[in-house]
């Protein structure tokens, strides 16, 4: 059993209470920090810990907070990104249901480090339960003096609101989320200015993922080196919540050291392949990552190892496919998702994703031609010139398909039908 840090208070049937969180050392980090550490100290510790953003982009959390300059105007905001709409990803929901005060303390720490006075949790409407839990626990934290004016007798004040989204995938993207909060249509906005300079209502805003924030109290309590040492690999740091779904016996969230091998996650933690099937591929970090094929079955699952292999860890939502799953049909499903969720703001994405989807539909339905391969490759390239990171994400599975499963695509084209739909 590996050390459980973020899940140390997780129970099968209920939420950890404020008392339980405190008993496990909760709110010590912020209490100690308000007494003995400056906001600069906290930034330094976070930077040194190598904590990378868990929301998909892997940006160093310490560095992000440091970009809020000392003379930046007030009010400043900390936003917790609990939109979690990346297909396959459900770790943030599980974290909130397990130990909500860990997230509240994480926001307090990020808030203190950025000298922000207002926190907002942006949450998807499907997570109404989580939103209610948070509202209730925020109230309890206020009563206990951890939120509000002059926290624990210091000169620091911080409050947290829960903001419910109307529900669209693009709202998870930082700049689109700012528009959503301001009551505007949530199209992304290209920097500069960066949100840490001019974010919500034009004021400095730090946005972090739920899991990133949850790591912060532990780092401050136990030190940056301790956090780095949790990982199995040199380049990794911390633990990671891997959320596994698809053709495994025990889908769910597993907290494991960063850098644990993919094969170990599947075989030991997620209970192995369903019905003894054979592993064909997985998406390692949500729908916006590339298929990892059998060739990478033993790859260490950290940001660096995946990047070196030409992949991305994304949100570490591992979606597992077995040998009976058609990769063309799976890619078609992913493209249907992206085509539906494109915000429609820029042409390469709005027009390009449905075009890819249409080609993929024809291949899957026996109408493919050999020239479609080069058409797919060419069109995929255009998606790189889109306005935000959504479209490059949308083409990741397509790229993976063409790279590692070209023979499957060709089989569809030659046989003029889906070879997986044979003897049904």
């Amino acid at each position: 059993m590996y050390p459980q840090v973020l899940f140390q208070n997780r129970k099968p049937d209920r939420i950890a209470t404020l008392e339980e969180y405190r008993k496990s050392g909760g709110y010590e980090a912020i209490t100690e920090s308000l007494k003995n550490r400056s906001h600069k100290d906290i930034q330094e510790i976070l930077l040194e810990s190598d904590l990378l953003g868990r929301g998909g982009a892997a940006f160093p959390a310490g560095r992000k907070i440091m970009t809020v300059s000392d003379d930046a105007p007030y009010p400043r905001y900390v936003i917790c990104n609990a939109d979690e709409m990346e297909p396959g990803t459900f770790k943030d929901r599980v974290l909130i249901h397990a130990d909500p005060h860990m997230l509240i303390e994480g926001m307090l720490i990020a808030g203190y480090a950025a000298r922000a006075e207002k926190g907002i949790i942006f949450i998807r409407p499907e997570y109404e339960n989580a939103a209610r839990i948070l509202e209730r626990e925020i109230g309890l934290a206020e009563e206990a003096g951890f939120l509000g004016e002059n926290i624990l007798g210091s000169d620091y004040s911080f409050s947290i609101d829960v903001h419910r989204s109307g529900g669209r995938y693009i709202c998870g993207e930082v700049t689109a989320q700012l528009n959503a909060l301001e009551g505007k249509r949530p199209n992304p906005k290209q920097p500069p200015p960066y949100p840490t300079e001019k974010g919500l209502w034009g004021k400095p805003t730090v946005t972090q993922n739920v899991e990133t924030l949850c790591c912060m109290p532990h780092i401050l309590r136990n030190g940056a080196q301790w956090f780095k040492d949790l990982a199995l690999t040199e380049a990794g740091a911390g633990t990671k919540i891997y959320c596994v779904s698809g053709k495994v016996n025990r889908p769910g969230c597993y907290e494991l050291p960063m850098g644990v091998k993919l094969s170990e996650i599947i075989e030991e933690h997620a209970g192995g392949m369903k019905n003894g099937a054979e592993f064909k591929a997985c998406l390692p970090g949500g729908a916006s990552t590339r298929f990892l094929s059998r060739e990478h079955y033993h790859i260490p699952m950290d940001f660096n190892s995946l990047r070196e292999a030409g992949h991305r860890l994304g949100t570490a939502a591992i979606m597992v496919f077995d040998e009976d799953t058609c990769m063309v049909a799976a890619t078609l499903n992913l493209l249907e998702f992206f085509a539906r969720e494109s915000c429609g703001w820029c042409t390469p994405c709005r027009e390009g994703v449905p075009y890819l989807k249409d080609l993929m539909w024809r291949i899957e339905h026996g109408q493919g031609e050999e020239k479609f391969l080069s058409m797919l490759r060419k069109q995929s390239k255009y998606l790189w010139i889109s306005y935000c990171a959504f479209a490059p994400g949308a083409m990741s599975p397509v790229e993976g398909l063409l790279n590692d499963f070209e023979d499957e695509v060709m089989a569809h084209i030659r046989q003029k039908r889906c070879p997986f739909k044979g003897g049904e």
């Binding site: 396959g88 109404e128 989204s165 109307g166 529900g167 249509r185 698809g246 939502a317 799976a330 969720e341």
Partner: protein
């Protein structure tokens, strides 16, 4: 017309908000809860309460998955069609529901009880295949389970009045 209690409680929230537009979606949700969907009148009222141009609100109402600018049934079924649920039988469940209710995707039963809509991954892939009904999650779906859920909702609808939809919970 919105009942005065709803209008007043929303107005109070707006008055104490530092940035009223932050409440745009909340206000539309509250008004939608009352009418069942966002009628033209509802959009005007939301605009008046928020002090926002109804056209700006229209941009939101037509964008978000959970705001309905067209009539929907008492129970809105959002069946997840993303990749994990798809692998675990989305298509046959969709066909089962369509047969059972006699409606296609995007349609409402003639008795006004059920609307069937597709939705992308709802974050319950560990319980796939999954769906939401009025934002309440149902996982590990089978045709039998779905039949039982519909049956229960039908009975519930007979015994409760319109507009008292069950609060979402897990």
């Amino acid at each position: 017309m919105l009942p005065t209690e709803i209008k007043e409680s929303l107005t109070r929230r707006i008055e104490t908000a530092s940035h009223p537009p932050e409440l745009a979606v909340d206000v539309m949700f509250a008004i939608q809860d009352h009418y069942g969907w966002l009628t033209d009148e509802a959009m005007e009222e939301a605009g008046a309460i928020l002090g926002m141009d109804p056209l700006k609100l229209e941009e939101l109402a037509t964008f978000y998955t959970f705001l309905y600018r067209e009539p929907v049934g008492k129970y809105v079924i959002h069946l997840c069609d993303s990749v994990i649920c798809w692998m675990d039988g989305y298509e046959s469940l969709r066909d089962h529901i369509a047969r059972k209710l006699g409606i296609g995707m995007g349609e409402t039963t003639p008795d006004g009880l059920f609307t069937l809509l597709p939705v992308c991954c709802i974050g319950y892939c560990d319980r796939s295949p999954a769906m939401l009904i009025n934002k309440k999650v149902y996982g590990f779906l089978t045709p039998e389970k779905i039949d039982a859920i519909f049956e229960k909702l039908r009975t519930e609808a007979q015994s409760t009045e319109r507009g008292t939809a069950e609060a979402p919970h897990e």
